[in-house]
């Protein structure tokens, strides 16, 4: 009896010893893992901090006025006019045109793939969409400039459509985000349980009625998230607008005229050799900060939509 207890104690002790044994190699590895884990938070904070720091001289300069910054319709740093509205306007026009194309087509493709297409057809179209999504944006910019713009100019008229115009950039941007919206929506639609569809068929609904009345309402959170992510992508898209939308911030509602977006402006101004501490340099960071918060809030909104609405389901 005594020996057994002793044995048990021994085992326990050796177990504790094993547990306590120092393993410097593993400790080192684990601490590097912890550090890399916190790096992501650090990067986010770093983005805000750095953009803020570089934009600070601009925000505190005597020429800056928040009201004028957000409502002014002229952006000309040379003569100290800092109204960001023309750039925001350019972004909004291109994004709007892009969504006009990408939402109907993207969701239609998603519905077709998830509800109508045969397995074989789906397994050929989905990779095609993925190819479309993997093409670099500069190639889309090339497409806008060398195909869509000439096409629009012959279709509508050379006097109306300028060589650089937001319509062409917006259309191609729509093509760019179409696969994104289509594949995210398709995922949302296929995630709807089959039993829901069977229930609707059992009541005598046709396929399209089932889709519109049952499947889409059930998947609405996923569809909304897809669209929001699409908007965020369109706002941040750079190369297409840099190539096709034109240079020089102009406040215009006409999609056939050239206008500069926030991203296009950043690329054009920083493309030249920009000297640090100039008002140009600092004002670029103020635009970036604005852009960052716009996309960040959209991304958070999409995550919130998914969480909030999928709880209802």
């Amino acid at each position: 009896m005594k020996t057994l207890q002793k044995k048990r104690r021994d085992v326990n002790e050796s177990f504790h010893l094993l547990k306590k044994r120092r393993r410097p190699g593993e400790q080192f590895i684990e601490s590097t893992l912890v550090i890399s884990g916190f790096l992501s938070i650090f990067i986010t904070l770093g983005i805000v901090f750095e953009l803020g720091k570089e934009a600070l001289p601009f925000f505190t300069s005597s020429d800056f006025n928040l009201v004028k910054f957000l409502t002014g319709t002229t952006w000309q740093p040379q003569i100290k006019l800092f109204g960001v509205l023309p750039l925001v306007m350019g972004t909004l026009i291109t994004t709007f045109i892009a969504l006009l194309i990408a939402i109907p087509f993207g969701i239609a493709i998603a519905i077709y793939l998830s509800e109508y297409a045969s397995f074989k057809l789906r397994s050929t179209i989905k990779p095609t969409l993925e190819i479309l999504a993997g093409i670099p944006t500069v190639v889309y910019g090339y497409f806008a400039l060398s195909f869509v713009t000439p096409f629009l100019r012959t279709l509508i008229g050379r006097d109306i459509v300028e060589i650089y115009n937001t319509a062409s950039a917006g259309i191609v941007m729509g093509i760019l985000i179409l696969p994104l919206i289509a594949s995210m929506s398709e995922d949302a639609l296929t995630a709807v349980p089959r039993t829901l569809r069977e229930g609707a068929y059992g009541l005598g609904a046709t396929k399209i009625e089932t889709t519109f009345r049952v499947v889409i309402p059930a998947a609405i959170s996923g569809l909304a998230a897809a669209i929001i992510v699409g908007v965020s992508r369109a706002i941040g898209e750079t190369m297409i607008v840099a190539l096709a939308a034109g240079a020089g911030p102009k406040f215009t509602f006409n999609p056939f005229k050239g206008a500069e977006t926030m991203t296009g402006h950043i690329v054009r101004v920083s493309g030249g050799d920009l000297s640090y501490d100039s008002i140009d340099y600092n004002s670029l960071f103020s635009i970036s900060l604005l852009l960052f918060f716009m996309t960040l809030s959209l991304n958070m909104l999409s995550q919130w939509v998914v969480r909030k609405l999928s709880e209802v389901k």
Partner: protein
């Protein structure tokens, strides 16, 4: 029995079936349009990268050689004689800096004669479709221009890969851009891959579903959605400006610390590393999550420590997934241009990058710059470069998919 009896629902059923057919056709049509767009996009690029080119010479090649002789068949001394005779003394001195003309190879000399004496210039270009359709008209038009030659030109050709950037579209290539891209991707990979996989391991294996873990996850998802140009601005502020001493190589004495310029390959690589980091983390987490828990339990059961379990069981089983995701992330980085423009990729670089502290250009940047030029021949050149880029990306992605299909177990 024979009496027709209309069921009550027939009137609406007809309408409903009609709407069913209508919507089905509409949906099919939309999908069809989506595919057409992809085809048009590719056709447009192919259309621009082949076609007739009318080349004019400053001095026609027929004038350079004696009648009856073929330039390409001349011997080395003959070619050297021609060059001595026709080239300005300054240029000759420059050419003979390293070795005398006689020590060049015959093909090099032929190239020199064409480049320095004949000086070909593009008069006009036609797209592939135009070349096919209006062949006779183009021939007639060109035959009226004295001293011009019409050639069917393929803008994507082996030469484009080995010749450096040049202001003459006939000789310009993407060599420097391609090398720049490869350097940048290499650096991004070396930095982002270990960091990203490390973060994924930490998040999946070491932390539970705590609030902190959730915060980090949300954070990473948000980072993946930040526009690439913002990363460019971050890189400009941090790597190019604040860390100029480090990224310009001044700390190694490679450049003057007074005039340290951080617009280097190293800055670009680090910036793209930040850009792909969230993508790698997300993909690696999915791959690690897919490893069944039973494997871990079995490993712990035989007394392995946590790290031993990860190293010997979790990682070997998830590495195909991690690699596939990472390859896709890097193929995205390869096509990325906006952050590189912001960081200050130079568009006109004619020498190969020597080390990570060299000024750089990249393939997408080159395409961007050629596309934005007003001369149409540069558009053709850009189309050729795009085909190279697309071929590169397609093969990388195909490799990733093959890898996934070959090794994926979970």
């Amino acid at each position: 029995m024979g009496e027709k009896q209309e069921p009550l629902f027939t009137p609406t059923l007809l309408r409903r079936n009609r709407s069913e057919r209508f919507w089905k056709i509409l949906l099919q049509f939309s999908t069809f349009i989506g595919i057409i767009i992809l085809v048009v996009l590719l056709l447009n690029i192919i259309n621009q990268s082949f076609g007739y080119v009318a080349i004019g010479y400053k001095v026609s090649p027929a004038e350079i050689v004696d009648p009856g002789q073929n330039l390409e068949k001349l011997s080395v001394p003959q070619l050297a004689g021609i060059i001595r005779q026709r080239v300005s003394p300054g240029l000759l001195k420059q050419l003979e800096k390293g070795k005398t003309l006689e020590h060049y190879s015959q093909t090099e000399l032929v190239k020199l004669v064409i480049e320095k004496i004949a000086k070909p210039e593009i008069v006009q270009t036609w797209s592939f479709w135009q070349s096919l359709r209006m062949r006779e008209e183009i021939r007639r038009e060109v035959s009226q221009l004295p001293g011009t030659r019409l050639v069917f030109f393929s803008w994507i050709r082996p030469d484009i890969l080995i010749s450096p950037q040049s202001s003459n579209p006939l000789t310009a290539g993407i060599r420097t851009a391609l090398l720049g891209s490869l350097w940048i991707i290499l650096i991004a990979m070396l930095v982002a891959f270990p960091l990203g996989v490390g973060t994924a391991i930490y998040l999946e294996e070491y932390t539970g579903d705590s609030t902190l873990n959730q915060a980090i996850r949300t954070n990473i998802n948000n980072l993946a959605g930040v526009p690439s140009i913002i990363y460019g601005m971050l890189g400009l502020a941090v790597f190019v400006r604040s860390l100029a001493q480090l990224t310009s190589g001044a700390w190694l004495g490679l450049s003057n610390s007074e005039s340290a310029n951080g617009r280097t390959i190293l800055s670009a690589g680090l910036t793209l590393a930040l850009l792909v980091l969230p993508l790698i983390i997300i993909n690696a987490r999915e791959a690690i999550k897919a490893v069944p828990d039973t494997l871990r339990q079995a490993s712990y059961g035989v007394g392995a420590t946590r790290w031993q379990t990860i190293w010997h069981h979790v990682l070997p089983n998830s590495i195909p997934g991690i690699l596939t995701g990472s390859i896709l992330a890097f193929s995205r980085a390869l096509g990325e241009s906006a952050p590189l423009v912001v960081i200050g990729a130079s568009t006109y670089i004619t020498v190969d990058p020597a080390n990570v502290f060299s000024r750089f250009t990249a393939l997408p940047i080159q395409i961007y710059q050629w596309t934005s030029r007003p001369q149409p021949e540069f558009r053709n050149l850009a189309a050729g470069a795009i085909l190279v880029l697309l071929a590169l990306l397609l093969s990388i992605n195909a490799a990733a998919i093959l890898l996934r299909n070959r090794y994926k177990r979970y």
